[in-house]
């Protein structure tokens, strides 16, 4: 008897304090998936997505695994969200192959999907929004090579080797290297997109190679760590560092001169555009199959707009972005 009372009271208390699942009449509920809640890149995605929801009149909910980048968890999240019947799903896979069956289930359930940042094959999606990682890798490597005079020795600090972003960025790096035979790639080692591992890997590489002219890092979190390691060793002047993402402390490092450049991989813009695409699709607008963001290299000269915190960044102009896709639908 007392047990039953305990159970009932717990149920009563909790059900009154739980979030109200009902969505307002007319406002579609859209779930935006991100890979984790630790990397500020995905925070920027969520901020952009929320802005799109606010501007275009949709309720945005977020889904990310509790264990960062966990495949099994993201699979469960997708399955659980199918039960909740969202109007649309904005999705980035933590593994572009392993999440295919889950998105196929979403397709079967008739929920429209917008994929962003990491391409997926064998699934139906309304549109893909993203920057092309291969082009980004190519452009940022080319920038570095040019800044060291077209010849010299460089090191590559890779992201998580299994991530499609890391693989494509590396492909871009290799394409750039082919164009500059006088540049030697001393080593390519993963820093797993994290600052401390990248710093320690690079420190060890600094010992192995007394002369390093440039470092290409697969993201800014690692690039800043590498730049700090160079500065601490007094080698900052002799080695140029570039990264990808243009996150706040990467931009700060560029402004202060510790880093040379970063390729903008705007989570904020991707989040906004992908979510806006989903909402517009629900309204019946026609969308191109691919919405590609241009590659922008952030360097000291043009860094100012990127020093603005992500909440205050202006959202991209939808019609301009669509126009620039020109004939790619």
């Amino acid at each position: 008897m007392k047990t039953a009372a305990l159970v009932l009271s717990v149920v009563a208390v909790l059900s009154f304090s739980l979030p109200d699942p009902a969505s307002a009449q007319g406002r579609p509920k859209i779930v935006v998936f991100t890979k984790n809640v630790t990397n500020p890149f995905w925070k920027a995605v969520r901020v952009g997505a929320d802005k799109a929801g606010k501007e275009l009149g949709a309720d945005i909910e977020h889904a990310a695994p509790t264990k960062p980048d966990n495949i099994e968890e993201q699979t469960r999240l997708v399955e659980d969200w199918i039960v909740r019947k969202p109007a649309a799903m904005v999705f980035v896979p933590v593994d572009f192959k392993a999440l295919v069956p889950s998105i196929q289930k979403v397709n079967q359930a008739g929920i429209p999907v917008v994929v962003f940042s990491n391409r997926m094959s064998d699934v139906d999606f309304v549109t893909y929004v993203g920057s092309d990682d291969e082009t980004i890798g190519y452009e940022i490597t080319k920038y570095l090579i040019k800044s060291i005079g077209g010849k010299g020795k460089i090191v590559h600090i890779d992201g998580v080797p299994a991530a499609i972003t890391a693989q494509n960025r590396k492909k871009g790096l290799e394409r750039a290297l082919k164009e500059y035979p006088q540049v030697e790639l001393l080593a390519s080692q993963p820093g797993n997109y994290r600052r401390l591992p990248a710093t320690q890997v690079f420190e060890n590489l600094m010992q192995r190679f007394p002369v390093i002219d440039g470092v290409v890092c697969a993201n800014d979190d690692m690039a800043v760590g590498v730049a700090e390691a160079l500065a601490a060793a007094g080698r900052g002047a002799k080695t140029k560092v570039v990264g990808i993402d243009a996150i706040p402390d990467g931009v700060a490092a560029i402004v202060s001169g510790k880093m040379q450049a970063s390729a903008d991989y705007s989570g904020h813009d991707q989040g906004y555009l992908a979510t806006a695409a989903a909402i517009r699709h629900l309204r019946g607008e026609k969308l191109p199959k691919d919405i590609a963001l241009p590659v922008v290299i952030v360097e000291q000269a043009n860094a100012k707009p990127w020093t603005v915190p992500v909440e205050e960044k202006p959202v991209p102009d939808w019609s301009k972005v669509l126009q620039s896709q020109g004939g790619r639908s």
Partner: protein, 319 residues
């Protein structure tokens, strides 16, 4: 401060002597069913059952290990290794499905036997042995695949997750079969009696002339074999094998076993409780997703629930 007062209060409520996991499942189902109309839908309950399958199978093997006062931290990594070995054989070497499955199980049993031999014959602490095996198995799996998923599997593989037989999905059948087999093993064979005895009083068993070490190796081999089986289900679910697919799952399995009332130290417990523990964890995670609790808070709530449930059991004197 002693445990006497709160323990006495809880005992005074004359709660039946059932593991905390049972209450946990009831409370969680009650809360989530009230909070979200879709929780009790056929689709969702079906999802939960499938989501719990791999964890349950892993936890059943883990129960046996913990009953012998051991622990196996390598099961998640071994699961990943078995999965990628089978997948690579299927994709790159054109092996048949039964051959790939056999290979996966062979890999699992080998890893388990290595664990068992080091624990039983070298006398090393299971924590350390399986920690080392975790590192080695994970590395091997990553090197074999360069960290990538292995795809391009023959369509027959998906039967292990999507298929059904006599109206029941295959993963559920697998769980039932493994549960049945493990139950028979524990309660109807000499092996099972030895498992309980090794945990309770190993020395007495040795004095009785039983070759305890052999049976201990068998326990770890069995747990790893179950990990290999679970890898088939997970590979089918993702239609891909990934080396780190189950890293961390062994911790949830350990939590499921303890929630289910099996003790680390007294050779006491059983697989019925483990089943409830695994279901509790699956229901908890599913329910938190359905009510839309933010990821950040979910992480904290999961830890809180596990600790609270075990604490209540401890206060009742059941740990």
């Amino acid at each position: 401060m002693t445990t006497a007062a709160p323990a006495a209060v809880l005992r005074s409520w004359r709660m039946p002597d059932v593991p905390g996991a049972a209450y946990l499942v009831v409370i969680l189902v009650g809360v989530f069913a009230t909070a979200n109309a879709d929780f009790l839908s056929a689709r969702n309950l079906g999802n939960v059952a499938l989501q719990a399958a791999a964890l349950t199978i892993l936890s059943l093997g883990m129960t046996l290990v913990i009953l012998t006062e051991g622990i196996d931290l390598s099961l998640g990594a071994v699961l990943g290794l078995c999965g990628v070995v089978a997948a690579i054989l299927l994709v790159s070497y054109g092996a048949s499905l039964p051959a790939a499955m056999a290979a996966a199980m062979l890999v699992g049993v080998t890893a388990g036997m290595c664990n068992g031999v080091l624990v039983a014959y070298a006398g090393m602490p299971p924590f350390i042995v399986t920690l080392g095996m975790y590192g080695m198995a994970q590395s091997l799996a990553m090197v074999l695949t360069s960290g990538n998923s292995v795809t391009g599997l023959p369509p027959a593989v998906r039967w292990f997750n999507e298929g059904s037989w006599i109206g029941t999905p295959v993963p559920i059948l697998a769980v039932l079969a493994v549960f049945g087999a493990t139950w028979l093993l524990l309660h109807r064979t000499r092996f099972g009696r030895y498992i309980f005895a090794i945990g309770g009083n190993r020395h007495a068993l040795e004095l009785a002339g039983v070759r305890v070490r052999v049976w201990l190796v068998a326990v770890y081999a069995y747990a790893a074999l179950l990990a290999a089986l679970a890898s088939l289900i997970m590979t089918a679910r993702m239609n891909a094998a990934h080396p780190t697919i189950a890293i961390g799952l062994e911790f949830d399995a350990i939590a499921a076993v303890i929630l289910g009332g099996t003790s680390f130290e007294k050779g006491r417990g059983g697989i019925g409780g483990t089943l409830l523990g695994a279901i509790a964890i699956a229901v908890l995670r599913n329910g938190l997703n359905l009510i839309g609790l933010s990821t950040e808070w979910q992480v904290a709530v999961v830890g809180l629930v596990i600790v609270t449930a075990v604490a209540l059991d401890a206060l009742r004197g059941r740990v």
